[in-house]
């Protein structure tokens, strides 16, 4: 009998462990599903319910904001991606009722909308109504970068992001601010200490990891999935813009410290040069943007931005960088048309191209073309009298937006490496005597142009 008991116990144990194991496996699986797929459980039976939840939440939100007369527009990359495929159809049938919920029911955690700060001021009522409608909301405030110039101003913090949560879906409302330079800016999303880190999975937000800069969009009122919303007129170009929208703020605090050490030159000459450099940069930006050529602040102009948030008064020229793959033959005629005659042209498209245009009042515009290699990027220099070639090496970089002298322009995102490569570790110390052939710390001797090519690669006007 004892043996039987022992067996029975063993069997019971095994059975229970089996049940337990199955339960564990099931739980683990559902946990994995949650981790990889949608946050909110994706059990088959409730799939339809989930889809319509998203639609309902969006509908409710649109009702909320329209009751407060707040003009928002859709910037959700997932939905805009879907919309973009059918854009022609959506544009033409403004009122068509669609049989199926194609866009707003697509699986996702958030729906993202944009709001222009200018178009709206009184939030108190909005948040109250939102609460009454059952939304939970989170407001992310931060410092106003428009006050962050050379003067120490502190205003009330401005709202950068709102998140409205209802049931299993959340609306992310990004506030865009208009800034000098005629562009729109949105802030980064940063949680303060006391904030609920689990309010929504913040890491999955499409906006907020970095601040971003955008052109003012043209909007289009469309009806999708029976909801009337504004969307960017050209969703695909918006999505493209979004992918390279990262914005860097100038380092105003460091610039202030720099000016404490090295007081700014406020002489009439300096004021005049800065004024000319600014207008030259504005003209160059206008010309290149019209051609659709991407450029960035390079050399001394970039250093001025990074170190002192201003044009270096003794730099005597404006320096821009352009990737050689973006080179267009129209560049020279376009500048000439804009009133900037070509001063010299060194190198050729295949090697060490460099253009120089004569701006007003002895201010020169230098355009360096950059060549990408596997592990570095370089641009070239040429000494006119000897035909000597030089090579300036930079670590690889990507481009970010910034604001400089009331202009939205590109700078290398990895600015410190860029500046250090060019000016060495002592870039913080102003140097007034600069020799472009020997002073840069990244210069390399690169041989001599063959004499028969000189006519082509050394053109001086």
């Amino acid at each position: 009998m004892q043996k039987v008991n022992k067996n029975a116990v063993l069997a019971l144990l095994t059975l229970s462990s089996l049940v337990f194991l199955l339960f564990q496996l099931y739980y683990y699986r559902s946990y994995l599903a949650q981790k990889n797929g949608a946050v909110f459980s994706k059990v088959r039976g409730s799939q339809l319910g989930q889809d319509s939840t998203r639609w309902h939440v969006v509908k409710k939100f649109l009702g909320l904001i329209s009751s407060h007369n707040i003009p928002v527009y859709l910037i959700d990359p997932l939905i805009l991606g879907l919309v973009d495929k059918d854009i022609e159809q959506i544009r033409s049938s403004s009122d068509g009722t669609s049989p199926e919920c194609k866009y707003f029911c697509a699986p996702r955690d958030f729906t993202t909308f944009a709001l222009l700060d200018k178009a709206w001021k009184h939030e108190v009522g909005l948040l109250r109504t939102a609460e009454k409608m059952g939304f939970q909301w989170l407001k992310i405030l931060n410092k106003d970068p428009r006050l962050d110039g050379m003067d120490d101003l502190s205003g009330t913090e401005i709202p950068l992001h709102y998140i409205f949560k209802l049931a299993s879906h959340a609306i992310h409302l990004v506030v865009f601010y208009e800034r000098s330079g005629n562009y729109l800016w949105h802030g980064p999303l940063r949680l303060k200490q006391h904030m609920d880190r689990k309010f929504v999975p913040f890491r999955k937000l499409h906006f907020g990891r970095y601040p971003g800069a955008y052109e003012k969009p043209e909007l289009l009122l469309v009806s999708i999935d029976d909801l009337k919303v504004q969307i960017p007129k050209n969703p695909s170009s918006f999505l493209e813009e979004m992918s390279r929208s990262r914005f860097l703020e100038c380092r105003y605090r460091e610039a202030r410290a720099f000016f404490q050490l090295y007081p700014d030159d406020a002489s009439a000459d300096a004021v005049e040069f800065r004024k000319r450099a600014k207008s030259l940069l504005h003209l160059a930006a206008l010309t290149l943007n019209n051609l659709g050529v991407k450029f960035w602040l390079s050399s001394g102009t970039c250093l001025g931005w990074y170190r002192q948030c201003n044009v270096i008064p003794y730099s005597k020229d404006v320096d821009l960088g352009i990737f050689i793959r973006d080179y267009k033959a129209d560049i020279i005629p376009a500048f000439q048309k804009a009133g900037l005659p070509l001063k010299h042209k060194f190198g050729k498209v295949e090697d060490s191209l460099e253009l120089s245009f004569q701006g007003e009042g002895d201010v020169k515009l230098d355009i360096f073309f950059f060549y990408e290699e596997d592990d570095h990027i370089w641009n070239g220099g040429t000494q006119a009298k000897s035909g000597k070639k030089f090579k300036y090496l930079f670590p690889k970089f990507t481009l970010c937006w910034t604001e400089f002298v009331e202009l939205k322009v590109h700078v290398p995102c990895e600015t410190l490496q860029y500046v250090e490569a060019n000016y060495g570790p002592d870039w913080k110390v102003p140097v007034k005597t600069w020799d472009w052939k020997s002073s840069p710390s990244n210069v390399q001797y690169n041989g001599v142009w063959p004499v028969e090519e000189w006519d082509e690669v050394i053109q001086i006007y």
Partner: protein, 659 residues
């Protein structure tokens, strides 16, 4: 194994013999049994392992999530929350009040809320108002009751304080010389036993609740005229009431929420915090038709004069066509009370860390404010610049709306200003009339963005230069011959008495009698004739029709101008060259208008009103209008009084520093 178990459960009895046989066989097959047992144990093991893995995974994932969100989305700066005052449930406050010749201080619960031991400053009665529920300081004032009229201001202030507030008084140096009976009676009504008998150089401290109990009073009599009373230190306890009792029961609206926040923090703003009938904080003036300045940002430049700011914002928000969303108040320094005032009206305020000192500080504050204004409103082509000590006329925006296109189109214009330096009660008459002048009056003016960004901002005086921004802006290097448009009757009124370059005497003499327009919707006439060339035509027409006054009479006398109305008169004064203002200054002096420097001229011509007649003054021969002088007329020359020359020079310097 399932099989095995199933057999075990389902068929124990029916085929017992077979089962037993099988069982014995099984028992004999020890190896098999061992296998089963091992299998079961393995199973258990796997379960345990899966279990552990699950726990580990869950924990790691949770940790990672936290870590990642911390990396990407945490505020990089350690957001040190402003150390909040511990919410004390204490019902009793310890109050210490000290009064002496050279020092006063007040400490509440060990925190010093007032300390003044500066020399030659802070004489008189210091008053502190505490919230009876929280114990927070709501107002701090000092009334120099050694000097005349300060006791009246104190009475006014004490009457404005709400019932139930805790009042703390202490005297520094001397506070009784001009403390009249009215004021003494008010102090007596607050419960002071000593106040009616306060005399020369007595020291005195008093703590009481308005309209309620007295918490303590101490007094030290001065033994002789030449000496002060002994210092007194009063230590007492104050019982706090509940928050509900300390607040009014206004209906719960957005406006009243702002009001409640304001009224629980500060005191001394009168009926805005009245429980029964609070004065409105939203004004909704009539909108303007075709308002050209609706989208023009308005920068209000403020310091730490919150009562002034309060008065100023009230008049600004009551002006027709105001757009509160475009208003930004720039406060020079981290002062709380001005910010409270800004928030009361639901406007946005910006604080500025002070740079430099005195005039340079004001100048740097202006620069920062103007830069920020154009940053905040990048679309704006203009900005309206106001100061905290101005009343704004009801038709201020209407005036700007009708004239702003001139500033956009006429390159020869420097600004539009709401202030006429020479527009006094007796010299200004026509609200629809505008002038062009070579000076920049300030005090409510419009600045063109391009002027600021391209010319002024890059060379704005640096902090180490102790320059006045407005004097700098008036310098020929900046103004470059451009002119400002001003109205005959000012659209702003300068009420500030306390200021960097201001005092009561100065205000009385030069600002009090300034004319201020109170008529709404004034239709400006001949706005187009203010353009550069059209204005010359206009002046020539005026001079053509003007009657030449009798130059043999004394221009200072009233009889110089006939007793008519609505006529145009002209007089000619001596003005050797463009900068010769000798006669003009004497004329201005006797006409009781601005004489501290030259204002309001246009090519050697001044325009004002006398006895309701338009009165033109032409400087001969410097002015191009001299040709209008009949050859028979000798321009009037007035000599400056020789002995006063020194005296004139001094106020001229003072004047240069003012406004």
């Amino acid at each position: 194994m399932d099989e095995w178990k199933a057999n075990l459960v389902i068929k124990p009895h029916k085929k017992r013999s077979w089962y037993l046989a099988w069982k014995y066989k099984l028992m004999n097959q020890r190896a098999l049994r061992k296998l089963c047992q091992t299998g079961a144990v393995l199973f258990l093991l796997v379960t345990v392992i899966v279990n552990i893995k699950l726990i580990l995974d869950t924990r790691r994932a949770a940790y990672e999530e936290e870590e990642e969100s911390a990396q990407d989305y945490d505020d990089e700066m350690l957001n040190v929350e402003a150390p909040r005052h511990p919410v004390s449930n204490k019902k009793v406050l310890d109050v210490e009040v000290y009064s002496s010749r050279s020092k006063v201080y007040v400490a509440v619960d060990g925190t010093t809320v007032l300390e003044d031991e500066a020399r030659e400053q802070g004489r008189g009665i210091h008053v502190i108002v505490l919230n009876q529920a929280t114990g927070h300081v709501m107002a701090k004032r000092v009334f120099d009751t050694y000097s005349p009229h300060e006791d009246e201001a104190m009475v006014l202030f004490l009457n404005m304080v709400a019932r139930g507030r805790i009042l703390i008084f202490t005297i520094k140096d001397e506070g009784s010389f001009h403390l009249k009976d009215t004021a003494k009676n008010v102090l007596k009504s607050l419960g002071s036993q000593v106040a009616p008998f306060l005399s020369w150089r007595d020291m005195w401290t008093f703590v009481g609740k308005k309209g309620g109990e007295v918490y303590g009073e101490k007094h030290a009599k001065s033994p002789a005229l030449s000496t002060w009373g002994d210092p007194v230190l009063l230590k007492t306890e104050v019982h706090l009431t509940s928050v509900e009792d300390a607040e009014c029961h206004w209906p719960d609206t957005e406006l009243n929420r702002r009001r409640r926040r304001f009224c629980s923090k500060v005191e001394g703003y009168g009926s805005v915090c009245s429980c029964k009938d609070p004065t409105p904080i939203e004004f909704n003036p009539d909108p303007l038709k075709d308002n050209k300045v609706f989208d023009v940002p308005v920068a209000v430049i403020a310091g730490n004069r919150p009562n002034y700011l309060y008065r100023m914002l009230r008049s600004l928000l009551s002006a027709q066509g105001v757009n509160p969303q475009m208003i930004t108040v720039f406060i020079d320094g981290y002062y709380e009370e001005p910010m409270d005032v800004v928030e009361l009206f639901g406007l946005s305020g910006i604080q500025h860390t002070p740079i430099s000192i005195k005039n340079a500080r004001v100048s740097q504050h202006y620069k920062a404010s103007l830069t920020a204004t154009f940053n905040l409103f990048p679309d704006a082509k203009f900005a309206v610049v106001l100061e905290e000590d101005l009343d704004i006329s009801v038709d201020f925006f209407s005036f700007l709306s009708q004239s702003i296109h001139l500033l956009e189109e006429d390159e020869s214009l420097y600004c539009i200003s709401a202030w006429n330096d020479q527009g006094y009660e007796h010299t200004a008459e026509d609200p629809s009339l505008l002038y062009r002048v070579e000076t920049m009056p300030g005090l409510g003016w419009v600045l063109r963005k391009s002027l600021y960004k391209d010319e002024l901002e890059p060379k704005w005086p640096t902090p180490e230069k102790l320059w006045d921004w407005d004097m700098w802006m008036r310098m020929p290097e900046q103004r470059k011959g451009r002119e400002c448009i001003i109205p005959d009757i000012s659209r702003s009124y300068h009420f500030g008495i306390v200021g960097l370059n201001m005092n009561g005497y100065f205000h009385e003499a030069y600002f009090k009698k300034h004319k201020f327009n109170t008529v709404p919707n004034v239709q400006l006439k001949n706005v187009e004739s203010l353009r550069k060339d059209a204005y010359e035509t206009e002046i020539h027409r005026l001079l053509g029709e003007a009657e030449v006054l009798d130059h043999s009479k004394n221009p200072c006398e009233d009889s110089f101008v006939p007793d008519t109305e609505g006529k145009v008169y002209v007089m000619f004064i001596k003005m050797e060259q463009e900068a010769d203002f000798t006669t003009w200054t004497q004329l201005a002096k006797c006409l009781h208008i601005w004489d501290l420097d030259v204002r309001g001229n246009h090519k050697g011509l001044w325009r004002l009103f006398r006895k309701k007649n338009h009165f033109l003054v032409v400087g001969v021969p410097a002015s191009p209008y001299s040709s209008k002088k009949p050859s028979s007329v000798t321009p009037i020359y007035m000599e400056p009084p020789a002995k006063e020359e020194g005296a004139v020079a001094v106020p001229a310097v003072a004047a240069a520093e003012q406004t």
